[in-house]
């Protein structure tokens, strides 16, 4: 039993230690270093046998409005897009559960299919749609709804729309799973007792689906808060999010310690949501 235990555990354990635990500890370590023009571009943590930790990166993050704005932008846009995903996700998931049983697998496959096509291509598709000379503006101008093109790219609207679109399938699946597990008799009973269908949905169906809705919200919020590609392509200078700041510090400014400190801050921000999500998911797997 012990030999078998070791045999099964050795590779996953070793892998996780090398590629997850050590790298995360390295981020923590280097966030206390200072940038320097050398290879590697940061100062060692121990110099001449003494601890040379510096809090300069963290104090910089607290002082500079730029970083605080990146934090608030990340929370704001990820929060708004999560809300959109949940509302649209609930509507679609409910419509799927109301469809005839035989259709449901097909509908779900159709919903997941876009998730399999490249993320980058899906975001790219929206640039072609949203830009001033893009298809939406061309159509609205042709219809005479607007006189001048709407500015949709390089705005918060573009970022929220892009994130909602990209992460929507992730939100629909857990919500569908929790709605499909409910007996339709519960809603019927509420309607028999005088509730309108919409009231029955809000008072019976939604509260019962709360774990699924919470899981869906966390599942999309966490990656969105650290998103880089979408705000970079659809947002502008006013919508900079944490992932972009980290990217710029790392690649443009080559300030690895500051980028590491940003990664630590982002991890801390997402720690509670991530642990809640894991508890929900692990609970489901062990049930």
């Amino acid at each position: 039993m012990t030999a078998r235990r070791l045999g099964l555990l050795s590779l996953p354990l070793l892998w996780t230690a090398v590629f997850v635990i050590v790298p995360l500890l390295l981020i923590l370590k280097i966030s206390f270093a200072e940038a320097q023009l050398a290879q590697p571009p940061y100062t060692p943590l121990f110099q001449d046998g003494a601890l040379a930790a510096s809090l300069i990166n963290y104090s910089l993050l607290l002082e500079d409005v730029l970083y605080l704005r990146a934090v608030s932008n990340s929370l704001l846009y990820a929060g708004l897009a999560t809300l959109c995903c949940l509302i649209i996700g609930l509507a679609i998931a409910r419509a799927v559960t109301q469809a005839p049983r035989g259709w449901q697998p097909l509908l779900l496959t159709l919903i997941i299919l876009p998730f399999w096509t490249s993320f980058l291509i899906r975001v790219y598709a929206w640039i072609a749609l949203l830009k001033p000379e893009g298809l939406i503006n061309a159509a609205l101008l042709w219809l005479g709804v607007i006189d001048a093109p709407l500015i949709m790219v390089n705005t918060g609207f573009g970022v929220v729309l892009g994130m909602t679109y990209s992460y929507l399938p992730f939100a629909i699946l857990p919500i569908y799973a929790s709605l499909a597990g409910q007996s339709p008799r519960l809603t019927e009973a509420a309607i028999d007792l005088g509730a309108t269908p919409i009231r029955a949905f809000w008072l019976v169906t939604v509260p019962l689906a709360r774990p699924g809705i919470l899981a869906a919200g966390l599942m999309v919020f966490i990656p969105m808060a650290g998103e880089f590609v979408i705000p970079d392509l659809l947002g502008g200078s006013a919508t900079i999010m944490l992932g972009q700041t980290l990217w710029t510090e790392f690649f443009s400014n080559r300030d690895w310690p500051l980028a590491s400190a940003l990664a630590v801050v982002l991890t801390l921000l997402l720690l509670v949501p991530a642990m809640t999500l894991q508890r929900l998911e692990l609970g489901k797997a062990s049930r």
Partner: protein
């Protein structure tokens, strides 16, 4: 149950929202005009441009190599992890290990990207195709773990015990009973890990080196410069490739279920 009008409208709008943008990319990849909003007639011009560009072809080859290797490694690590978590009962540190193994799935990509890059730099490992492959395998393993574990939980452990009773050794019983039952999950996990690798921009940007550019990284730098018909063409090819994969996988999955029943 019949669908009400509201539900039909919701589904129609939902599916249109999900599919129209992709469809437009495909349609405009056959556009003769260089303008993205004006239809200038059907043409395969942009595909010709694409296939004469060695940079794209080389990047595509890199992506396929990395994807296949990373998916295979991820399936191995993730499956072993899933077996450990479902078969070994409780052992000290189980929750923590599970949390850390799933962390790459939950953490934003920028964090995993910086973290693994710092690992390779501090070990003085030169960045290239291999470093991208290992990083992608780490991400894929978390997803494989979830998929295989879900399948293992639903699997009756008595089946393997019965095989043992009938004289099979532990390895034989595992290979002849458990592995075939897990096969759909293994295939699904491999495909998911492969697609994740084929799709990744962020991790690859951090850990790749000169001469190890992957297709998404190449496409990304082109997209940053603006919309172009060339990117529409390459997107269409990728969509076609993935569709073939997904349809094949779902047919395979269905067949294994049907043959079992």
């Amino acid at each position: 149950m019949k669908l009400s009008r509201v539900n039909i409208a919701t589904l129609a709008f939902g599916l249109a929202f999900l599919y129209l943008p992709i469809l437009l990319v495909v349609v405009f990849s056959f556009n003769a005009s260089k303008l993205v909003t004006v239809w200038g007639g059907f043409s395969l011009h942009w595909y010709r441009v694409l296939f004469s560009s060695s940079a794209y072809l080389e990047a595509a080859l890199h992506s396929l190599q990395i994807g296949a290797a990373a998916a295979t490694l991820a399936t191995l690590v993730g499956t072993l992890g899933a077996l450990a978590f479902t078969r070994l009962g409780r052992f000290p540190g189980r929750q923590v290990l599970a949390g850390l193994m799933l962390a790459p799935m939950v953490l934003p990509e920028v964090i995993l990207g910086v973290a693994t890059l710092l690992l390779f730099v501090s070990l003085d490992i030169e960045r290239g195709l291999l470093t991208v492959m290992f990083t992608h395998a780490t991400l894929g393993a978390a997803f494989v773990l979830v998929i295989v574990q879900a399948k293992l939980v639903g699997l009756d452990p008595d089946l393997e015990a019965a095989a043992r009773d009938l004289g099979a050794g532990p390895v034989r019983a595992f290979l002849l009973v458990t592995v075939p039952a897990l096969l759909p999950a293994l295939v699904a996990g491999w495909l998911l890990a492969f697609t994740l690798s084929l799709d990744d921009v962020v991790l690859a940007s951090f850990v790749n080196g000169p001469g190890a550019t992957t297709l998404p990284v190449r496409v990304y730098s082109a997209v940053r410069l603006g919309v172009s018909p060339e990117i529409n063409a390459i997107s269409t090819l990728l969509i076609a490739l993935v569709s073939v994969f997904v349809i094949a996988a779902s047919l395979l999955y269905k067949r294994t279920i049907v043959s079992r029943n």
